[in-house]
Amino acid sequence: MDSNHIPRTLPRQSATFDPHTMAEIRRAAATGIYDIRGAGTKRVLPHFDDLLFLGASISRYPLEGYREKCATDVWLGTRFAKKPIHLKIPITIAGMSFGALSAQAKEALGRGASIAGTSTTTGDGGMTPEERGQSKTLIYQYLPSRYGMNPDDLRKADAIEVVIGQGAKPGGGGMLLGQKISDRVAQMRNLPKGIDQRSACRHPDWTGPDDLEIKIEELREITDWEKPIYVKVGATRPYYDVALAVKSGADVVVLDGMQGGTAATQEVFIEHVGLPILAAIRPAVQALQDLGMHRKVQLIVSGGIRNGADVAKALALGADAVAIGTAALVALGDNDPIHEEEYRKLGTTAGAYDDWQDGRDPAGITTQDPELAARLDPVSAGRRLANYLSVLALEAQTIARACGKSHLHNLEPEDLVALTIEAAAMARVPLAGTDWIPGQLKF
């Protein structure tokens, strides 16, 4: 053998110790603190892309794409509330706090949602007048921190959402780092400016479902049984959590999967706790069905909803509506390549920017810096959000008509197949081309 020509082994990166993992080890070694960031999980997970609609053919009859009606409206809170909510589209804007977001961004969310005929939601930190003013239908979050919580705003709200958890961090509290605590944020939260604000992970005055029932009753008494009461949970044990929310008297259950965005959470939490939304919807619907409450207590799901197909799939699996957070921020202008130069200066790139905790958002959305925040025009950003929402609804209708449905709510699991065994098991629909649903025995 020619000893000058020994084939060389190519340098090989480890799949286990990949460059991202190794960089994180070095960062941890240098700083001694975990990584905190915004946005949702970034890893590949079983998701709605793993499902397909079958569409109609000879055995099913489609609706005429541009002529026949396919309704999109949804009622929320019909169980106990005297004033349930009626939305034109089953796509709502999820709770995102003033503090995490600028006042302009909150206003834009309200404007966009109102044009599209849907609701928007406050967040940790209370209700701002801009947001109330621009939101036709506003859901007021009732969180463990109770920052800014007051009965006047409670009465001004169209519904109340008791937040127990979030998909990005089920079992975790919140934090807003000092750099985002402006005078106004500090004043709304009764805390000094510039300090890190921790939000507790448990409510201060109730623990467990028996207490929650009494708490919900109190909120109803205060607001004279007018407002729908939502209960929001992160997806962990959806069957039991949904059943307990129903038992506690919820009108609406909001179920947020692990893809759900956050303003600031430990990376390890975002990536390793909770269920992907695909795995959570069927057990949640099962709980509602077992209690005879499906469609009576409405189910809103969220976590990684991006397009009308995702909306249609969530509804086909049994949800009554969906909520969007991250996608709404992107529609406003988050992570737009137009800011690439500035993203580079922050050591990142458009599409990867997730330091939403940091307050230096070039798009002026996740910031309290007056100059940055002023970059976002609430009117045009609101218009973009409204356009995007209407595309989501149109896309979902396109699919529903192709499946022969005259209302988005008529979509059903039977319209779906899965591309992977995992997705088939989680969504409880057959693997494409088979009649096999893993986990469901057939003899």
Binding site: G32, L154, N190, L191, I195, E218, D224
Partner: protein
């Protein structure tokens, strides 16, 4: 005086009547008979009236109170005066857990003892407890003043922010970031004022109190304090 007998009238009806009161109502004095520990009595009030509850109240009595004076002539359940904004709530017996939780303003007076988590996450309320308070009281207390004539349980003021705590008796243990501070003249003045408002006149010697508050070490994350979080 308006009398509502909960043996014949429902809680819903009581709260409806109280919510209907205009700011200048002349029905300023209410008496609620046979409360029998029902939950959510006199919640969400927003008028300068006095409501006397002739017995024990359940959870969340006088929750989110504004302007009104609510007097519980017996014991109060979990979360009495939770998230109060203004006005006064006076419990003549003992109070259960989370008394005055997250309250933003007003005055809460408890003649007896208060259980765990008294003043948890308080945001501006003043609380005077004539007896003792349970563990984890004033957890994450943000602002306002908590005065205790008796003793305090474990982990008082854990993760406290700017609230001021005054305890006359013993403190079983202080929570993370809560420390004893010097009692200065301005604090004695505040004590006198609040004790007066709580109906104690000058009977109490304010020099006997110790003051506790935040050492502010956890205000901005520092890795060397990681174990304290």
């Amino acid at each position: 005086m308006s009398v509502v007998d909960l043996a014949v009238t429902s809680r819903r009806e009581l709260n409806i009547q109280l919510h209907a009161l205009a700011p200048n109502t002349n029905q300023t004095h209410w008496r609620v008979e046979n409360p029998n520990g029902q939950h959510s009595l006199a919640v969400g009030l927003d008028a300068p009236v006095t409501v006397e509850i002739a017995g024990h109240a359940g959870y969340y009595c006088a929750g989110m109170n504004k302007q009104a004076t609510v007097v519980v002539e017996g014991n109060a359940g979990v979360g009495v005066a939770e998230n109060m904004i203004s006005g006064m709530v006076h419990v003549k017996g003992d109070a259960s857990q989370a008394a005055g939780a997250t309250a933003h303003g007003g005055l809460l007076v408890i003649d007896g003892d208060a259980s765990a988590r008294c003043g948890i996450s308080m945001k501006g309320v003043n609380i005077v407890v004539k007896g003792s308070i349970g563990p984890m009281s004033a957890f994450m207390a943000q602002s306002g003043t908590l005065i205790v004539l008796g003793d305090a349980g474990d982990a008082l003021g854990d993760s406290i922010y700017e609230a001021r705590l005054f305890v006359r008796g013993s403190v079983k243990s202080l929570g993370t970031d809560c420390v004893e501070k010097t009692l200065r003249e301005e604090h004695k003045e505040e004590l006198r004022e609040l004790l007066n408002a709580a109906g104690l006149g000058d009977a109490i010697n304010v020099d006997e109190f110790k003051r506790y508050g935040s050492s502010r070490k956890l205000y901005n994350f520092h890795v060397d304090n990681a174990a304290a979080y």
